[in-house]
């Protein structure tokens, strides 16, 4: 092959990669653009300070906002994260570091299956486990449902990042006479921490956007609530109910809520990146 032909091939291959990347990026920009155009007008001061209240507010054109949905999303998602992280990471450790254990293959099958399961089923599970047994819809049930969404993602990413940490690190620890659990917690996990945190962020972002599991558990609430044992509002479920409502003001607030949800996820990733970079900088020689 001539040199020119090789250059041409190189440029062609590069063009294909650029094209493929554009196919990924363009729809995302389109979504963001569309959401911002439709929702920006709803984002006023009251949007962040007022509750939604009863539909009569909307009909009378009185100020209404989604402060209760924003607060509820933060509360329910963080509680879910608190529940999911210990179980998710532990399961990941089991699958990577204790591969000879009889539970490891079971855990691997379960996490793969759960990863591919529609999130509404996690809602049904939390409904059966929590709502049925406690006698009512609650924020806690919503957190449990979202934790079920997060756990398999955290477990899977933890497993894969632990697996790519060099075996020599474990051997060095074992050769010092450290027990396996100490090698795992003090050496392997810290070495893989950036990947573990990234996995947690991905799980968090994924769960933060889920509406279906929350409809059956935390239900929704038109007013601000901090009580984990009662229904609480969240942005994804609120977007859904605003969208199917008959009021024009509520439709535009739904788009506004979508902007906030997008920002929430973007800020999560940004903060995560900053945390990871700070952790990494500490040990760069």
């Amino acid at each position: 092959m001539t040199l020119r032909a090789r250059y041409a091939r190189d440029r062609f291959a590069e063009a294909m990669f650029v094209l493929a990347t554009l196919v990924v990026i363009v729809p995302l920009f389109f979504i963001i653009f569309h959401v911002v155009v439709n929702g920006f007008s709803a984002l006023n001061y009251e949007f962040f300070t007022e509750e939604l209240g009863s539909p009569s507010r909307a009909m009378q054109g009185r100020p209404a906002g989604l402060v209760h949905s924003i607060v509820g999303t933060v509360i329910i998602d963080l509680v879910a994260l608190g529940m999911a992280v210990p179980f998710g990471i532990s399961t990941g450790i089991m699958m990577s570091e204790f591969q000879e254990h009889p539970l490891a293959p079971v855990a691997r099958l379960m996490t793969s299956t759960l990863n591919g399961m529609p999130a509404v089923l996690m809602g049904l599970l939390a409904y059966a486990l929590v709502v049925k047994n406690t006698g009512g819809f609650s924020a806690l049930a919503g957190s449990v449902a979202l934790a079920f969404v997060m756990i398999p993602i955290i477990a899977r990413t933890t497993e894969s990042v632990l697996r790519v940490t060099p075996w020599s690190l474990r051997e060095a620890g074992l050769a010092l006479g450290l027990p396996r659990w100490r090698v795992t917690t003090a050496l392997v996990i810290p070495a893989a921490r950036a990947g573990v945190v990234t996995g947690i962020l991905i799980a968090f972002a994924r769960a933060a956007g889920e509406a279906a599991p929350l409809l059956l558990t935390s239900l929704g609430n038109n007013f601000l609530s901090f009580d984990m044992t009662r229904p609480m509002d969240t942005l994804p479920q609120r977007i859904y109910s605003l969208a199917i409502s008959p009021y024009r003001q509520w439709h535009s607030m739904g788009w506004g809520a979508a902007i906030i949800l997008l920002l929430f996820v973007m800020i999560t990733f940004y903060v995560g990146r900053v945390v990871i970079n700070r952790m990494e900088k500490q040990f760069r020689g």
């Binding site: 051997e171 060095a172 050769a175 450290l178 921490r193 020689g285």
Partner: protein, 258 residues
Amino acid sequence: METSTQESIRLETKDLTVRYGVTTGVQNVSAQVYDKHVTALIGPSGCGKSTFLRALNRMHDLGADIDVSGQVFLDGENLYASSMDPVVVRRRVGMVFQKPTPFPTKSIYENVAAGLRLVGTRKKSVLDEVVERSLTDAALWDEVKDRLRSPGGSLSGGQQQRLCIARALAVDPEVLLMDEPTSSLDPMATRRIEELIQKLKDKVTIIIVTHNMQQASRVSDYTAFFYVGELIELSPTEQVFSNPKEARTKEYLSGEFS
């Protein structure tokens, strides 16, 4: 070197065999290692010398289909007895690897202290003392004493290897296994490690795997020649290099096969 019979045996293997699945890595090796001496293990690639070494502190335990049979006695105690905890074995028989393996997330100080701190020693005065003593023993103290808080990975390759030696010494092992500890180092760093080995043998019994025969003759008191998984000859180093008992040792040393 004719005094070998009077020296005390620290570690001894009896019919040690290591199998990987269906292949045999080490076969029926019975060897003696003398206290406070350096024993070098030499032989062509794949002869089983590293496999043998790793059997001495039960590093094969976690290998899925590695099977070790036979016995390893340390001060007369069988390290493969069912009552023996591999974690305890590895505290008594330390190991330094081919590539330096400083713990990437830990400082120089924490690297050395890891073997103690991670199993519960928290007292700062004890740790400080152990860290300084171990780094001094590993001939690294003067180079790092002003930057004990910098990451272990910020050191040069040779320094990292001495850091790993210090880390192994910190838990006060009786035997130190070294698996080609200089094969990734430049000649100057190699020389420093070799000098260090000479100094350390007053404190600890050393077994070193090396593919470099000059190194074996420089650092060791005894040399064991392995070939296709078997121990061919184990004699005082001088004798192995000047007048080997076995024809195969002689052929290997003269470069007739490798």
